[in-house]
């Protein structure tokens, strides 16, 4: 028999309080990154050796700016989820683990904001 309350079973959440959310979001961002990465790789090949003016014009095209923002969002979300698991698996000391988990979360978010801001600044007229 289960010692969980009915409400607890319905919610499907364990002691971590978020159920399969981490696992699921890693898959959602992974699926998003398949077309985004292929688009980005092809775009970068075409942009090889591009001048500053050419690169700015490319980012300013609405489709490219939107795709870049989506790529940035999915990349840093996925990266944050992945690094979290690596730290949880390998860092034994509880103190170092908390510090590293917080640092990687803050760094991932800061990098995403920096990249997103750069895209918007260029797209809205540098």
């Amino acid at each position: 028999m289960s010692f969980q309350s009915q409400l607890c079973r319905v919610r499907g959440l364990g002691s971590a309080k978020n159920g399969t959310h981490h696992w699921w979001m890693q898959r959602v961002t992974a699926v998003a990154l398949i077309p985004l990465c292929l688009w980005f790789a092809i775009a970068m090949i075409k942009m090889t050796g591009a001048s500053h003016g050419d690169a700015v014009a490319w980012v300013q095209a609405p489709f490219n700016a939107i795709m870049l923002l989506l790529l940035i969002g999915a990349t840093f979300y996925h990266m944050q989820l992945g690094l979290q698991v690596v730290i949880e698996d390998y860092v034994q000391s509880e103190g170092a683990k908390v510090v590293l988990l917080m640092a990687q979360k803050l760094a991932s978010f800061a990098l995403a904001v920096a990249a997103g801001f750069a895209v918007l600044k260029i797209a809205f007229g540098g």
Binding site: L33, A41, G82, L111, A115, A118, V119
Partner: protein, 131 residues
């Protein structure tokens, strides 16, 4: 009995090294490598936003052999993580988990990552007119 004296289950070094193990740890290693590699992407976008001078400085870094090495490593890591990630997504559906299939798809992912990297760099150099 203190925690440290408890018997441990057999760990990595006890097992014969297999391709699927190598592929698994490579997925993690390339993931961490790509996380560091995002600095190249952020640097590129910020340099572009700063203006032509910073952009030229950034291109100077990428044109240097060390920058090229980083970029080449990043290209392969991206394609490996992408191909092996698709393998993981297929496993999530419950298929492709048999020993032979898993080994074969592991080889396929590694081969595809190398082929895609070579294609990408040949295409990039020909864009520059270097080939």
């Amino acid at each position: 009995m203190s925690t440290n004296e408890r018997p441990l289950s057999p760990h990595l070094q006890i097992y014969r090294w297999q391709w699927t193990m190598a592929g698994s740890i490579l997925h993690r290693a390339t993931g961490v490598g790509l996380a560091v590699g995002t600095l190249l992407l952020v640097g590129w976008l910020l340099a572009m936003a700063e203006g032509p001078d910073r952009y030229a400085a950034y291109q100077g870094f990428i044109d240097h052999w060390f920058g090229r090495l980083l970029l080449f490593g990043w290209t392969w890591a991206l394609f490996y993580h992408l191909c092996n990630g698709i393998r993981h997504l297929i496993w999530d559906t419950g298929s492709g988990l048999g020993l032979n299939v898993a080994a074969a798809s592991g080889y396929a992912a590694a081969a595809a990552s190398i082929i895609l990297s070579v294609i990408a760099w040949v295409a990039a150099y020909s864009t520059m007119g270097a080939i």
